[in-house]
């Protein structure tokens, strides 16, 4: 591996650029490099690992039992990258990807920033391995300090070995909820309750997918996790509504279960409603997306090799649809094989041969996923908040009521028009935290589906870039197009 610490050290051109150093990106970069491609791997975090293996090479957590065996497996992926010849730039954000007009479409122009300096480079092929984010979970009062995502607490734990101080409540649904609760408790956090919002009516649908789950690797792992968390923590199931109270800071979580209302005083509330693919970069790069009704989220349209609708851009890992860390790594390898084939470095037959055992393993890791997706599908009241005062766009402070009103009274039919009317999605997070909810609210109000409503049309730069950074860029035609398109 060749570590790059300054933006000037990047080459002008790479055969393959991989965005994201989670399991998908690490495997894609290593495999492509092993096949002889000149590879650049970039990630905006200071260390490789992505979300699951965050800070795997630097974590200050010493007790290995706290994060569990799965976490420490990440070291092997990083070691493989280190053995490879790939270039790796940490703290480097990709903010645009566009066809390089000067190369007649044979390569992409990629806008990157590192340490406050921007740069444009080119790459023949691109693999987006940008992973997932937590699903937005707007409830009344969720903008109060003291409320965070459960993933945030996990990140703080893995990268800084710090845990929430005082009384902590975890609320939401999904397999990660139990994992996070268990990890935080093992790390010494005072988890006073886990409020489980998994809708009981999900069970009938999920049972149809049970046979596959029973033969899947998730089963043993999941049961162990659940049993451990339930044994040691106070679990309250069947939670149907949540609201945060406090003046200037969270002090109480109020909730309903079984028709009765209850409350718990707490210092930290951690919210989690599963994860959804991060689509900002793929959306802005022009890749077509569709609504996955089982995972209930937008996913890029991909073929068997994870190639997107834009020839030359592939999407691997959880960014291609949620599949978990093991499948992310395998998808990364498959995408890398196809990149090598597209560049003419291996034949179709070689690609297929290499891919066959990886596909078998991928099938195995994904078996049983459907059961989890169906069982942990968030309740509708958390997807489209019922209380009108609930802020859904944290940046511009737009409420659920305003979106409903604009959809009903003003006849706003889609998220892009909603943006123009209410400024939701116009803040610095560029819709990452309101997009799914806006779509849901419009669909609900207009009696249609998220698929029909569509999603925000996003534009580069997908992360804010300063004017000084842009001004310092060499002005190629493509550069101008990437910004003004």
């Amino acid at each position: 591996m060749k570590p790059l610490t300054e933006i000037g050290q990047l080459a002008e051109h790479y055969d393959l650029a991989v965005v994201g150093a989670g399991p998908a990106g690490l495997s894609a970069a290593a495999r492509a490099s092993e096949l002889g491609l000149a590879v650049l791997l970039v990630d905006e975090n200071p260390e490789p690992g992505g979300q699951i293996y965050r800070s795997i090479t630097t974590t200050p957590v010493t007790d290995r039992a706290v994060l569990g065996v799965d976490y420490w497996r990440g070291a092997d992926l990083v070691a493989r990258l280190k053995r490879s010849a790939a270039a790796y730039a940490a703290r480097c954000t990709v903010w645009s990807i566009a066809p390089d007009v000067e190369s007649d479409g044979a390569s992409f122009e990629i806008g990157l920033s590192l340490d406050g300096r921007a740069r444009l480079i080119t790459a023949g092929q691109v693999i987006l391995a940008t992973g997932a984010q937590e699903r937005p979970f707007p409830i009344p009062g969720w903008t109060l300090p003291g409320v965070m995502t459960a993933g945030a607490a996990q990140i703080a734990l893995k990268s800084s070995a710090i845990v929430p101080k005082g009384r902590t409540v975890i609320a939401g649904c999904g397999p990660l909820l139990y994992l996070l609760a268990g990890q935080l408790a093992a790390a010494g956090a005072e988890i006073v309750a886990v409020l489980d919002t998994t809708p009981r009516r999900n069970w009938p649908a999920a049972l149809g997918a049970l046979p596959d789950f029973l033969r899947s690797p998730y089963l043993a792992k999941g049961l162990k996790l659940m049993a451990k968390a339930r044994r040691s923590l106070r679990f309250l199931g069947g939670v149907t509504s949540l609201a945060v109270e406090g003046s200037g800071r969270l002090s109480t979580i109020r909730f309903e279960r079984g028709g009765a209302s209850e409350s718990i005083a707490c210092d930290t509330l951690l919210l989690h409603q599963g994860v959804i693919p991060s689509v900002n970069l793929s959306n802005a790069a022009g890749c077509a997306h569709e609504f996955d009704t089982v995972q209930h989220c937008w996913v890029p349209q991909l073929d068997d090799w994870f190639a997107s609708s834009v020839p030359g851009i592939a999407i691997a890992g959880d960014g291609a649809g949620i599949g978990g860390a093991e499948s992310a790594a395998l998808r990364g390898e498959i995408a890398a094989l196809d990149s090598a084939r597209r560049l003419g470095r291996i034949t179709i037959a070689e690609r297929d041969n290499h891919a066959a055992p990886i596909r078998t393993a991928l099938g195995r890791t994904l078996r049983g996923r459907r059961f989890l997706d169906l069982l942990y599908k968030p309740a509708t009241q958390f997807l489209a908040p019922i209380v009108d005062d609930t802020i859904i766009c944290r940046c511009e402070e737009v409420t659920a009521g305003q979106v409903r009103d604009a959809a009903k009274r003003l006849g706003v039919t889609g998220p892009n028009q909603m943006k123009a009317f209410l400024r939701c999605g116009m803040g610095p997070c560029q819709g990452r935290l309101c997009g799914p909810t806006v779509v849901e609210l419009i669909a609900e109000t207009r009696g249609t589906t998220p698929a029909e409503v569509g999603y925000y049309r996003l534009r580069p730069p997908v992360k804010p870039v300063t004017l000084a950074e842009l001004a310092s860029l060499p002005q190629s035609e493509a550069a101008v197009k990437a910004v003004v398109r």
């Binding site: 406050g116 300090p145 300063t466």
Partner: protein, 102 residues
């Protein structure tokens, strides 16, 4: 807000300031993590209503961790590694062009 685990690996300490208050952080932490570990409750006030906000996702998604670092505003505290001697300030409301220069 947050406290260190008792058996965390030790790291070099860094001095920095938040709104003029001298604080101590750990090498390897991000700005947002150091603020949380130092009991800082609020790091920005929103441009629309002035409501207080604190880091929410710690992974670069929500932009709630925006602070002014060494005079440069709109920096994502959860993505910036803490450095010795950093001057960090609450980001109040909307940034004005003249404040944004580093």
């Amino acid at each position: 807000m947050f406290r260190p685990m008792s058996d965390a690996k030790s790291a070099a300490t860094l001095s920095f300031s938040f709104d003029g208050r001298p604080l101590i952080g750990r090498d390897g932490d991000t700005v947002a993590a150091s603020l949380l570990a130092n009991g800082v409750d609020v790091c920005r006030e929103t441009p629309v209503s002035g409501a207080p906000r604190a880091p929410y996702c710690l992974m670069g998604v929500c932009f709630e961790c925006l602070v002014v670092i060494d005079g440069v505003g709109n920096r994502q505290g959860c993505m910036v590694p803490l450095r010795d001697g950093m001057t960090i300030e609450t980001q109040h409301g909307r940034r004005q062009p003249e404040e944004m220069q580093g």
